[in-house]
Each structure stands twice: as C-alpha cells, then as structure tokens.
C-alpha cells in the first residue's frame, strides 16, 4: 500500500501536467487580448512605425513559444518549464515598450490634441500583460516542480 504522498507522485507517471498546460493557454489568451486592444486603437498613424512591426513579430513568436511550452510542460519536459518562465518575464518587460510610450503620447487629430492611450486602456493592457506573464511563470514553475518530482520519484523507484 502506498501512502497518499507517494500515490500523488505515482499519478504523475500516467497523467499529463494539465495545470501547466492550461496556464500556458491562459497566457496566450491574455496576450491576444493585449494585442487586439493595441491594434484596434484608432489613433491615426501613431502606431505605423517599426516598433509595431517588431511587436507583431514578437506576438507571433510569443504565441508559438507559449503553445510549444504548453505541450512541453504537459509532457514533463523540464526545458520548456524554464522557457515558459523566461517568456513570462518578457511579458513584464513589454509593459515598458508600447504601452508605456503610448500612455504618455499625445497626437493631434482633426485639430484637437488626443491622448494615444488613456488611463483605462493602459490599465487594461498592463493587466493583460501581467496576467499573461504570471500565467507563463506559474506554468513554468509548476512544470519544473512536477517534472523534478516525477524524475526524482522515477529514480527512487528505479524506473528512470
């Protein structure tokens, strides 16, 4: 008979790490909400710069990376756990990019001075990036923890 702790570890041999995978999907969802909010802004040609091109590319890279991470952590690949943490931290760094610049920018539209990103939208996009980043990091942490637990258990039982 196994005790509850051992059973919990043994279960990892046969179950996928759905928690980490779902957190990665959550990160993808909030990243989509973030860029939809930015790209749908009607602020004339303010965003028509190289920065937005880089942003589009990064979003594509993030979506792909987060999806790969979700599959990796689901199957207890420790490398994908660390990678998820890195792209999670990057989401926080992104707050300092377009959102910060747009929040402080003012343009002239039809002869009137207009704020590119109001406080409300700024709070919204920051929240999206923060949640996306936290979800990614949590996914990575859970992935690394569970994978380490599983690997140690397998070694302990001589199953590795």
């Amino acid at each position: 008979m196994m005790d509850a702790k051992t059973i919990k570890k043994d279960r990892l041999r046969y179950t996928k790490n759905k928690l980490s995978a779902n957190l990665a999907y959550l990160a993808i969802l909030f990243n989509v909400l973030y860029f939809v909010s930015i790209y749908s802004s009607d602020v004339d040609t303010y965003y028509y710069t190289i920065t937005i091109g880089a942003s589009v590319l990064y979003n594509l890279v993030f979506l792909l990376s987060a999806f790969l991470c979700s599959e990796g952590v689901k199957n207890y690949k420790i490398g994908y756990g660390w990678f998820a943490m890195v792209i999670g931290v990057m989401q926080f760094v992104r707050i300092l990019g377009i959102p910060k610049a747009a929040h402080s920018a003012v343009i002239t539209l039809a002869g009137e001075e207009t704020v590119v990103m109001g406080d409300g939208q700024f709070a919204y996009v920051v929240a999206c990036l923060v949640i996306s980043g936290l979800a990614c990091i949590a996914s990575g942490v859970a992935g690394v923890y569970k994978t380490t637990t599983l690997n140690n258990y397998m070694k302990e039982k001589g199953l590795a």
């Binding site: 196994m2 059973i7 919990k8 043994d10 279960r11 041999r13 046969y14 179950t15």
Partner: protein
C-alpha cells in the same frame, strides 16, 4: 456484487415487433450466466434492457433486491463491455480506465489505486501510457474490461466481447475472462452466439430463440439433456444428427436402420408406439458397429478426431471418431448409436 432477477420481461418496439417474450431468470450473487442463441434471438436486447439502454416494455428487473426497472442506466450500478470496445481514441489507457470514476468526481488517489489494481489484474500495467490504437484487439478488450472493473459494479454485462478477435486471441481472452470471474467473484451476464464460449464460461446457460427462452441450465444439462430440438441442434459442434423414426413395440424403425429398444427406452416411448418421433444422435455418439452403414461423402481429419460426413439411410449424418481415419468417398462404414435423444415430432420437446 449482487443477485439479479428478471420477472416476466417483455420487449415490444414502437413498430410492434416483439423482441423478447416473457423472460424469467434468477441470477445468484457471483454467478456467470451466458445468454446464447442465433442472431436476432433477443439476447442482446435482454442485456441492453438490464443495462437500461432499452426500455422494458413490461416486467420487473430487480438488482440486489431493489426494483430498478424504471431507473436510468447510471443509477443501476452496472458496467457493460461492448463488442467494439468503445474506448476513447484520444485518451491513454490510464485515462480510459479512469474516465468513469473521474466523471463521478472520485478522489484522484483512489482512482489511481483502482486503475493500477485493475491494470495489474489484466496485465496492462506496461500499457497505461499508450493510446488504444497502439494496442492489439485483445489488449483493447482487456482495457474495456478494466474500465468496467475499476467501477466495482454490482453486475458486469458483456455483449459479444470476443467477436472482433481472431480465433487464437478469442481463446486466450476467453480464458482471461474466466480467470477474471474466478478472481473477482462477480455476477456476470455474457451474451454470445458462440456455443464454445457459452459452454466454457458459463455456470448456467440461457439458450434463446426467436425471443423465447428455450432452456436454462448448466452447460452439461444443455449438452446432455437438451429440452427441445432447437437446443439439441444449437448446442454441440458438429450439431446433433436427427432422424425420423417410427416407434414399434420393441424397436425403432428408421430409414436404413432398425434399432432394438432397451427397457428404459421402451418405458420412455410407450406412449409413442405407432407414432413417428425424431431421434437425435450426437456425432460423438455414432460409433463403429453393425447396426447400420454410413456412406461416406467427406472425411475431415482434425488430429485427435476425424469427422466423417455421409448419409445413413439417405439422411445426412456426421460421425466423430476418436481416431485418425482416412475414408474415401463412397466407403461404407458400419456404425451404431451409443447414446440416443428422443424428441416429440409435433412439439419438438424432448421425450423424458
């Protein structure tokens, strides 16, 4: 585990076709019952009514002392294993086996222990991380059984579970089911049209034809003392040979033979003197002798035995000799009957 009682069960479909007529059966706790019969005889319909997948038109179904006739399948605590396995292709074997318990929101640790225990019983421990498509037919059927085992239901129902397997695998899986029954001591109802499965697995066999129960009894009872012509012809391979005979005072007169009746046979047939009855003889009860001749049409050697097909007095007959024979077409073999079954020609019932 539980006892099961079916009282006056009838099944009439919306188009007024009646599939099952007045089915009565009491199944004891831990008993292995096999429902056997040709296609369309109502055996699967009966099983599906027990499972709750078909409504019972009239009658009562009692499981473990409780009337469950009107209860939905989920509340009957029954597990069913299907011919086509019904596994989820996108789930691993572990997930397939755990699925029903997960739906019930049982503790994951308890689920884990139950799945591992079932996998151990069925020899599936090394397959738990695989998908169904990676397993053989026999292994898939074992997974289907495992999914039933983890639920620890009151009654197990099997609906022709071996029909999709090849002959060799069918034999092996059949033995596994038998061992499983001995190990679990569970109440099991098993539907098949294969009499070999019925004879080898069952504690009792229910032989059905055209919606009616023809006979209920142990495999030996059905084989040795069939209740009527249908059971006599259905149970036994090759099937029983039948000859029309006239009963005389001291003998039985058939086309191509005269058989002297012994005292017990005379007593049995005393009300049939002057009438025609059906004489049944199993192929293994046709032995070499001098009462009549078998004209050989075909000789089939099966290793330990030989099936000799031919005619006796113009009637088709098959003999099973416990030796390697090499008869040619047209050979005449002297034979006798060492065991006879008598049937009323009008009612088709056995004369006892």
């Amino acid at each position: 585990m539980a006892s099961l009682s079916l009282k006056n069960i009838n099944k009439i479909y919306d188009n007024n076709v009646q599939a099952v007529f007045d089915f009565n059966l009491d199944v004891a706790d831990g008993e292995f019952i096999v429902l056997v019969g040709p296609s369309g005889c109502g055996k699967s319909t009966t099983l599906r009514m027990i499972a709750g997948l078909e409504d019972i038109s009239s009658g009562t179904l009692i499981i473990d002392g409780e009337d469950v006739t009107q209860k939905p399948p989920k509340d009957r605590d029954i597990a069913m294993v299907f011919q086509n396995y019904a596994l989820y292709a996108h789930m691993t074997i572990y997930e397939n086996m755990a699925f029903s318990l997960t739906l019930r929101k049982e503790d994951p640790n308890v689920i884990h222990e139950k799945v591992l225990a079932a996998a151990e019983i069925l020899g599936l421990t090394d397959q738990l991380n695989k998908k169904p498509k990676q397993l053989s037919g026999g292994q898939r059927q074992r997974v289907a059984m495992g999914r039933a085992i983890v639920r620890t239901p009151k009654v197990f129902l099997f609906d022709e579970p071996l029909s999709n397997l090849d002959a060799k695998l069918r034999g092996a899986t059949r033995r596994e089911i038998l061992l499983l029954h001995k190990r679990l001591g569970a109440t099991m109802l098993y539907v098949t049209h294969d009499q070999t499965e019925a004879l080898t697995l069952a504690d009792r066999i229910v032989c059905m034809s055209m919606g009616y129960v023809q006979q209920v009894g142990t495999p030996l009872e059905l084989y040795d003392t069939p209740a009527n012509l249908f059971v006599a012809s259905f149970i036994g391979l090759p099937p029983m040979n039948f000859f029309d005979c006239e009963v005389e005072e001291n003998k039985l007169v058939g086309t191509g033979f005269n058989l002297k009746l012994n005292d017990s046979e005379k007593e049995l047939l005393k009300y049939y003197v002057g009438k025609t009855i059906t004489l049944g003889v199993r192929p293994e009860n046709i032995v070499k002798g001098s009462d009549m001749t078998l004209s050989v049409n075909l000789n089939e050697n099966l290793g330990q035995t030989t099936l000799v097909h031919g005619t006796i007095g113009g009637h088709k007959a098959t003999a099973k000799f416990r030796e390697w024979s090499d008869y040619k077409v047209g050979d005449e073999v002297g034979v006798s009957f060492d065991r006879k079954h008598f049937f009323d020609k009008d009612t088709t019932k056995a004369i006892r």
